[in-house]
Symmetry: C2
Subunit: 223 residues, 2 copies
């Protein structure tokens, strides 16, 4: 009985199982992120409940709402992480193949596809469910893919500054090429990786190269 006891005293946070409070919380957060990847990535967003996420994370609802506002917030966090992981990986590989544009593009594509094969769960998260959750998530996805085609655009224009598409809108073409990769990836993943990754990489690269070639031809001999 301490005499100066305040009425709204904060509980003293302390270590537990050898971990500081922040560490424990981060670990719980992490477990939910992995549970989200596991369940959302296999059964989709709408088929998964908070209770199931908790069971997968071996934690209880209380801690779920400690880390995330709701189911959608967890999905958004998982989505964003997957995007950034894949992006970093692809960019790193592209950098490693500087300055050969052909090698850069092919290696980037291969890394993209290999990432999906290593963890097919992220394919569903990145390309399917994100579009059917809420307008906010749809917009987030739109920005990601727009950013991707923007990068693609910048990339090709830096490599081939002389390219001027006659009557073509580079933004639309870039959107198309991104869509091509995504659709190929989806069919590849859902088809059980029937083709070797090199085949997928080469065929997608062929689309890129075809466009560059077309642009060169159109610009070098107009009409």
């Amino acid at each position: 009985m301490c005499p100066m006891e305040s009425l709204d005293e904060k509980p003293k946070r302390r270590t537990f199982k050898g971990l500081a409070p922040e560490e424990r919380q981060r670990e719980r957060h992490e477990r939910f992120m992995e549970a989200g990847l596991a369940l959302y990535g296999t059964r989709g967003y709408h088929g998964v409940t908070v209770k199931e996420l908790c069971a997968e994370a071996k934690l209880t609802e209380r801690y779920f709402y400690e880390s995330f506002k709701d189911r959608e917030a967890l999905f958004g966090a998982v989505y964003q992480r997957q995007v950034e992981q894949l992006r970093e990986r692809v960019l790193a590989v592209i950098r490693r193949h500087l300055p050969d544009p052909r090698a850069m593009a092919r290696a980037g594509l291969e890394t993209f596809f290999q990432g999906l094969r290593e963890d097919p769960r992220c394919a569903r998260i990145l390309f399917v469910d994100v579009l059917s959750i809420s307008p906010a998530m749809t917009e987030q996805s739109r920005q990601v893919t727009s950013g991707l085609s923007g990068f693609l655009l910048q990339f090709t224009q830096a490599l081939y500054p002389q390219l001027r598409a006659q009557g073509l809108d580079p933004e639309i073409v870039a959107t198309g090429l991104v869509g091509a990769c995504i659709n190929v990836a989806m069919h590849w993943v859902y088809g059980g990786f029937a083709q070797p990754v090199e085949a997928v990489r080469d065929n997608c690269y062929a689309l890129f190269e075809a466009m560059i070639l077309t642009w060169s031809v159109k610009t070098s001999k107009p009409g």
Copy 2:
């Protein structure tokens, strides 16, 4: 009081409001189909309840379950109808432009995009929600897009029988081209049709042409 009254007598079906029983049922079915298109196409599959579908159709739950086993069955029917409508329209236009392959492809593409602009609701149904409902619906969508790339393949190979893709898998390329059109369409629709339909059509056609050109080049002068 008829003396021979059977215990399990079937109710005599009769006309009502000048319509035969079958006509009435068909009309109810139709109203649910339109309600499904309206609500699924704007708010998505998961955000719509049976009650809302009934309100939109101005009918009651009883009649919903008369026509459809559940919400998913209605979605499947709406999806299938939209696929077939768009396909018929595109095929009709393509036929009308025989035998000029360039005109056929461009007109087909334009009809595809124009169909989406006339009724943006079907974009969501055809490309987004169908993938996140159930494995069965996902498979149905897969078959549709596979059929589409199959047609594309057959089309180009019929027009350019000499084309032999060196080291390329025509199936993957076709999948990519279909994905390109779908992604361009999605961004076009969700971006509020910022570009004129001719621009979208021409840029997608450019992708097609680029591939054909690439194949021709690769086959005529190998290496």
